[in-house]
Subunit: 310 residues, 3 copies
Amino acid sequence: MGDLITMDDLTNEEILQVLDNARSLLPVAKGDVYLPLLQGKVLGNLFFENSTRTRMSFETAMKRLGGEVLNLSSIGSSVAKGETLYDTMQMVDGYADIAVIRHPNQGAAQYSADAVEIPILNGGDGAGNHPTQTMLDLFTIREAHGSLEGLNVMMVGDLRYGRTTHSLSHALVRFGAKITLVSPESLRMPDEIVSDLISHGGEINETEEMSLSIDSADVIYMTRIQKERFPDEDEYIKVAGIYKLTEDNLSGAKAGMIVMHPLPRVNELDASVDSTKHARYFQQAFNGVPTRMALLCRSLGVKIPKKVNK
Amino acid sequence: MGDLITMDDLTNEEILQVLDNARSLLPVAKGDVYLPLLQGKVLGNLFFENSTRTRMSFETAMKRLGGEVLNLSSIGSSVAKGETLYDTMQMVDGYADIAVIRHPNQGAAQYSADAVEIPILNGGDGAGNHPTQTMLDLFTIREAHGSLEGLNVMMVGDLRYGRTTHSLSHALVRFGAKITLVSPESLRMPDEIVSDLISHGGEINETEEMSLSIDSADVIYMTRIQKERFPDEDEYIKVAGIYKLTEDNLSGAKAGMIVMHPLPRVNELDASVDSTKHARYFQQAFNGVPTRMALLCRSLGVKIPKKVNK
Amino acid sequence: MGDLITMDDLTNEEILQVLDNARSLLPVAKGDVYLPLLQGKVLGNLFFENSTRTRMSFETAMKRLGGEVLNLSSIGSSVAKGETLYDTMQMVDGYADIAVIRHPNQGAAQYSADAVEIPILNGGDGAGNHPTQTMLDLFTIREAHGSLEGLNVMMVGDLRYGRTTHSLSHALVRFGAKITLVSPESLRMPDEIVSDLISHGGEINETEEMSLSIDSADVIYMTRIQKERFPDEDEYIKVAGIYKLTEDNLSGAKAGMIVMHPLPRVNELDASVDSTKHARYFQQAFNGVPTRMALLCRSLGVKIPKKVNK
C-alpha cells in the first residue's frame, strides 16, 4: 500500500499529486522552515550498494521533517555471517517505520516489500527500477517546463546498464514524450525496454549521433558510462569519452532547454555547461530532498499542508 | 551505579522492574507513541566488534525516546594510531551522557566503566557477559509464559563460545529454571560455568542429542555455530550442521513452547519453523528495543510512566 | 561571511566573543541543559581524512543544540567514481545548512567555501590550518589562565607536520605570547612559519631540549610524532620517543601551568601526568564541544544567550 517499487505503483494523477506536494515542501527542504511532520518516525536506510545522493537526500529529507534515520548498511556484517535478505528484513521491520532499499539484484525491493509489514521504497535494484530517482527527475522537468506533457527528451550515454534512463523513459512516455536515445551500439537501450516504450505509445528515435537532436530538445539527459559495469576494460575504453556535452554544443538550443544528469559525472558533461542557463543537474540533485519528503509522507500516510508558511 | 556490566548488577526484583518498564514502553518501541523521555541526551555507540542487532536496537531505542546517538565505531582510527582504551573512554566521557561498549576482550566493559563518570552498558565483551541481550531474552520468555519461574529451557548449539547462553543460563537459574544443554562434545558449555550454575541451584542436564528433550521444553534457545570462533576450518566443518530444528521436530512440542535464537541464523533453524506458533525469534529481535529503552532510562535515572497512552 | 577557513578570518575581538559564547554554552555542552538553538538545521560532516575528535565533537555540538548531522564521509564512493570536489560540494550545498570539511590537501577548505553558498568550517586541510582546533585550544588556555595575554607557551614534538601547532602559535602571537619551540632538527617548525610569527611580533625561541623551559612555562603543548607523516620508517624510528613528559619532569613547574595535547597520544605524554593538577588534555578534548557550538552558531547567525539557566 505504502510501498513504492516501480513507477507502475503510481497513476499519472498520483505522480502529479506527489510532485505538487514536493513543491509545497520546498521551503522545508531548503531549511527555511522547520516542519516536523515525521517526528518520532524512523527511516531504515538499507544500502547493499553505495549511493551517495540517494542515501544522503533520503537522510536529509527525513531529518528536515523531524524524523530519524537508522543507517543499516552495516548489516553487511550479518549478511557476511550468512543471513538471508528475508531475515534481515524482519529485523528492519522491528526497528524502523519505513525503509529504503538499494540492492544489486533486480527484484530485491519487491521481495523485501513482500517480507515485511512496513512500507518499502525501492532505492534502485539492479538494472531494474529506481522510482524515487524518476520522481525527482520528473519534478525537475516539471518545475522547468511547467508540465510533463509532450516534451522532446534526449537521453545520452549508457542506456543499457543505466537504470535511471529505463525508469524515466517509461514514465515520460506515460505523459506523451518524444524520446531520442543516443548511445553507442554496445550501450543501446535493451530491445525489450524500447518495445515496451513503443507499445505504450512512445515516439522513440534511436541514434549514435548526439549533435543533431540538441536544437529541438526540451531536456537533454546525460549519463555517465560506468566503468564498473564493463566486464572487460578494453570494451570500456572503446566507448568512454564518446559523448561530451560542452557549452559550444548548446549554441542553437531552445532557450528553455534544460540539461540534466543523475551525477556523479566524469567527462561526458563539461564544466563549461555549469554556468549556462541550461544547467539543471545540481538543482536536480537537491530536488531529491523535497521529492523524497513527499514520497516518505505518502508512504507513511502523513498529510502535507498545501501551503507551508515561514 | 548506572552501569550494567553483568547480570549480577541487577537483583531479581530489579530485573522484574526493568521488564515491567519495557512492557510499558512497547507502544513507544513500536513507534505508535512518541515519548521523548531522553530528549537532549546522547548515547555513545562504541563497537569494537560488529553487532548489527545490538547496535541498531540501541540506536532505535535511543531515537524513539527523543535522544541522540554518536556512532563511535570510527574511533578505530584513533586506536590504530595507538590510543589506549582508557584515553578513548575519556573522550567518550566528554561527548556522551551514556555509552554502550562491545569489545572482543573479556573485562573491557568493567575497565571502561571504571575509567569514566558516565554510565556504561556492556554490549558484549569476549566470551563473557552480554547482559542487555539476556534482559531481552528474559523479556521475550516472560511475555510468552507470564513468568520466569521454573521453566524447562533447552539451549542448543555452540555453548562453548556463545556468550549469549552463558549469560542467559545464569539468569534463568536465579529464577529456578531447569536447563538442558545440547551441544557436540567440542562445544560443551565450559565446566566452570556449569559448576557455577549448579552451585546456584540450577538443575542442569547435558546431552549431545537434541530431539529427546523437545517435547518437555518451554523454551528452545537455538544458537549459531560461529565459524569465526574456530581456529581450524576442519573443526568447524565437523560440527556445522549437526543440529537443525525443523517444523517436523516440533510435532510433539507443548502448545506454549517458544523457539528463540539471537540471530543471525544459518542452517540450525529451518525456515519451516517461521510459520509455526512457536517461532519467537523475530519478536525477540524487536524486543531489544523496549528492553534497551528501559535499561537506558534506568541508567540515566529517568522515570518511566506506568501507562503510556496514545 | 560565515566561513571559518583560517584564524585570520577572526579579529582578536571576535575570538574573545566566541570564547565568551563557548563559556555560556558549557551547561549545554555537558548535557545539563537542553537548548535547541539549531533545531531544524543540518550540518554536513565531510571528512576526507579520519579525525575522531574533530568529527565527534562537531557531531555532539550540533546534536546537543537540537540540530542534525549528515555524515558525508561515504562520499568516498562518488569520489572514487571520479567526482570532483567542486561537484561534491554542490551536493553538500543542496543537502546541508553548513559543513565542516577535513581534507588532506592544503587549500581545499577555501576552495570548497568558494564553490558553495553555505558556510564552510575548515576542519583541517593538509599541513595548513585547523582553526576550530585552535579555538578550542585558546578556550582551554583562557579558562585556565583567565586571559590569553602574554603567556609563556612551550610546543613540543612534531612542529613540522603538525598543523595544530602552526595554527595555534600564530593565534597566540596575536595575543603577545612568548613561544618556545622544542623539536628534533628534522621536525623543526618550517622557516616561513617561524618568520611569520616573528614578523607579527612573536618572541620565539627554538631548542631541541625540552627540560630547560618547563619551569617557566604557563602552557606545555605536547604533540604526537605521527608515523604516517614519514615517508621512511627509519626516519621515524630516529625521532620517535625522543620526548617523553612524565610527572617527574613537572616537579619545578608553576602551580598554574597546564599540559595540553590534541590527542591521541602515544608515548610522549606519560600516564603519570594524568593525575597531576597540570593535566588538561581530556578537558581540552571536551572543550571541542562548547567551542564548536559557539562557532556553529556564529556561522549560522544564531544568537547565544549570555546566561544559560538550568
